[in-house]
Amino acid sequence: MSKIGNIPVNAQNGKKRTNPLAGVFDELVQFCQSRSMFMLHYCTGCGAIELPPAMTSRFDMERLGIQPMVTPRQADILLITGYVSVKTLKRVILTYEQMQSPKYVIGICSCTVNGGMYWQSYATAKVLNEYLPVDVYIAGCMPRPEAVIEGLRRLMGNIENGKGIAWKDYFQRYDHYLGNQQHLFGNDWQTPTDIIGEARHYGLETEQTCGEHSRILEQHQQPLEPYKMRIKL
């Protein structure tokens, strides 16, 4: 596992807090997190067609502090707008693992809940929270912009109350998620992110972080080299 820990992670959680104002500061950060949400600009399915109305003039999500961001590094929220085909699901998981915690997943449309109208389809994954920890589901086919905003507001409330912690579940029960991913993608599935290393770093490792599935991962894992750019002189 340690071979792929090329990207250093500087977490603040590991340190012991001695500052008496730490609690106040945490609350301030939580409040700001709930008021400023950058959502990833990734349209995974047909529900994405209701995001432009929700973002633009008529419903204007920016008045709630929600704005689209371009790369996973910058974003807080991953909106899964509709069915995820197996091919997309791989990219979604890669994207999710590249995002910076705290990160949140919202499943929009019925298809993310239980397959929706594509329950017969051989190409779409059915239950999203088997593969990723989902904070909020917004059901409907497709949910209206009002419903999308309502779901986002609920997420904002959760974050403000300190309940938006589904991302920790991904570290705590990584073996479970990895097992489901391997069931779908085959045993040689791997991502360039060192989840177990990060979990240790954050102090979020539990007995369910590693297990039989992560052992399979270790067997198949190719050591990843950081990508170097060649500079032409």
Binding site: I7, P8, V9, N10, A11, Q12, N13, L28, V29, C32, Q33, R35, S36, T56, S57, R58, D60, E62, R63, G65, V70, T71, R73, Q74, D76, Q100, S101, P102, E198, Y202, P226, Y227, K228, M229
Partner: protein
């Protein structure tokens, strides 16, 4: 002769003021955009929320030492620029530096960003930064010509001296209208707004330099943006609008100055890189040279 403690206080206070005013400018930009796009826009404290949130992220991915240093240079360059910009009641070291120093200091952020982004090894970032440097090259030519003309006209390279001159005589914009117009072009390029927003370009290169930035690095860029807007506004005000006799006048002037490029930005697409260079080296340079001819 100001005492050392007073000077130190000014050096601390001036960047802080710049940050606060810059935040208000960011908010103003987003509000103008919202109004033009027929919507409400963000709440009043939105820029602060964004920055606090970004600094409060749990994961902070760094791409090595150079990445960190580059970001520090980018923000620090602007912080250093702020103390060369006189504001009402505070001159900082503006009378010692003058505008030549300032125009050198203003290049540091772009170079720092180039260093930091180059470390990310993301092709989008590299393309973005090469475009940013090209853009800098493009707007610096008219900018330098304008600065040269202005300095010739006022017979001074000190911003403090220029402001004093303008407050006694007349605003620079009335004495050198052509240079002021060329300066507006350079200002648009300096602020990186459409039609010269070539290096962010989300649809082309996924926000270019910011593509790998996350957490506090992204927050650093947001802070940099506030300084950038403030610097552009104050510089133009000092050169052409006579600075500010008091804070109210000063703030009104810099907000108006910044609002013009912002409003223009919202109704234009961006040029291609070579078009930007061509246009920057053609019209503003031509106008500025004619302006200089009048000044000389």
């Amino acid at each position: 002769m100001t005492s050392v403690t007073e000077l130190l206080a000014e050096l601390l206070l001036m960047p802080f003021i710049a940050f606060v005013v810059g935040l208000a400018m960011v908010l103003m930009y987003r509000k103008i955009a919202a109004r033009l796009q027929r919507r409400i826009g963000p709440p009043l404290l939105q820029p602060i929320y964004d920055i606090v949130k970004l600094y409060g992220k749990e994961t902070q991915i760094s791409h090595g030492l150079i990445h960190d240093i580059g970001l520090v240079m980018a923000v620090g360059g602007y912080v250093a620029a702020e103390i060369f910009l006189p504001v009402p009641g505070m001159d900082g070291i503006a009378d010692k530096g003058g505008i030549i120093t300032l125009s050198y200091v203003l290049m540091v952020p772009s170079l720092g960003l180039a260093l930091g982004v180059g470390q990310c090894a993301n092709p989008n970032g590299s393309i973005g930064i090469s475009r940013a440097l090209t853009a800098m090259l493009a707007y610096d030519i008219p900018f330098i010509i304008v600065v040269f003309g202005v300095a010739t006209h006022y017979q001074s390279t000190s911003l403090v001296g220029m402001i004093e001159y303008q407050q006694i005589h007349q605003w620079g914009i009335f004495e050198m209208p052509l240079l002021a117009v060329a300066g507006l072009f350079a200002l648009q390029g300096m602020m990186g707004k459409q039609p010269f927003e070539i290096y962010v370009a989300p649809a082309e290169i996924a926000t270019g330099p910011m593509v790998e930035m996350s957490g506090k690095y992204m927050g650093g860029l947001f802070v940099m943006q506030t300084f950038q807007l403030y610097t552009a506004g104050v510089l133009y005000t000092s050169l052409f609008l006579g600075g500010g006799a008091n804070w109210f006048e000063f703030l009104v002037k810099i907000f108006i100055v910044v609002a013009i490029p912002m409003s223009v930005a919202l109704v234009f697409p961006r040029y291609r890189t070579e078009d930007m260079v061509r246009i920057m080296w053609k019209w503003p340079v031509m106008v500025a040279l004619i302006g200089i001819a009048f000044v000389l």
